[in-house]
């Protein structure tokens, strides 16, 4: 799109703008912060140190499927409200994230 501003390629290129935003904001920045928080926040002293691994995998799965579904909405004429479904998947991933990390926002120093 930046190249298109200098050397027009095709007017339809602007269809990619929401995809560009979705991939970079949710796919890159949000996903990176979630992944790094999962790695770096204080771990549990008992049991599985970062909590339920299956839930963590589901979080990654839901977020990425959500991104793909939101993007698919821009390119398909589906009768399904894909953007809403995608956003709901992303919200479920974030809800899982909050649930899994709430008790890890803690200090073990007195």
């Amino acid at each position: 799109m930046l190249v298109h501003k200098a050397y027009p390629l095709h007017p339809a290129i602007w269809v990619l703008l929401p995809v560009h935003i979705e991939l970079l904001v949710i796919g890159w920045i949000v996903q990176f912060t979630m992944g790094t928080a999962y790695w770096i926040l204080p771990r549990y002293l008992k049991g599985s140190s970062r909590g339920n691994t299956k839930l963590a995998r589901s979080m990654v799965f839901l977020l990425n499927v959500g991104i793909v579904v939101v993007i698919a909405d821009r390119f398909t004429d589906s009768s399904l409200p894909l953007a809403v479904i995608g956003r709901l998947l992303e919200v479920s991933a974030v809800a899982l994230f909050v649930g899994m990390h709430w008790k890890r926002v803690v200090t073990y120093n007195k």
Partner: protein
């Protein structure tokens, strides 16, 4: 904190200030040119947020080469140069496109896009092998020791 991380964070802070100034300009009717909006978002999201992500990840992720210098941290410094050169070129050239017929500005904008993408690729080259579990790190170290 390694030098490259300091460079990323301090440059990022510069872009953060620039982005907020652009944000003010966008809100003032007499200054609000349409070309400023993409610059505001890109200086904020790439110049600040992405830049601190790059800097901090190069510092905190496992497998860091603790030796300082351009050669020792080649891909990191190339990322820094490409990303920031690309951003500065965009900042300078993009606002000129609607107002100037000179092909020079178009070349600068094209170079900016190429530089930023190249910065992303060099970041991937640096970081991809460093994203690993403790077990993978142990195996890697063991392999290295066996080789010596």
């Amino acid at each position: 904190m390694p030098r490259i991380t300091r460079a990323f964070i301090k440059t990022g802070m510069g872009f953060f200030l620039v982005s907020l100034l652009l944000g003010i300009a966008v809100e003032i009717e007499s200054l609000s040119l349409p070309v400023l909006m993409p610059l505001f978002w890109h200086t904020l999201m790439v110049g600040w947020i992405t830049q601190i992500i790059f800097g901090v990840s190069m510092w905190m992720f496992p497998g860091r080469n603790k030796e300082e210098g351009f050669r020792a941290q080649l891909w990191g410094w190339l990322t820094y140069i490409f990303l920031n050169a690309g951003l500065v070129l965009r900042l300078v050239a993009e606002p000129m496109l609607p107002y100037s017929e000179l092909a020079f500005w178009n070349v600068l904008v094209l170079s900016s896009a190429v530089l930023q993408v190249t910065g992303g690729i060099t970041y991937l080259i640096e970081m991809w092998p460093r994203i690993m579990s403790k077990e993978q790190r142990r195996r890697k170290r063991k392999k290295k020791r066996n080789k010596q």
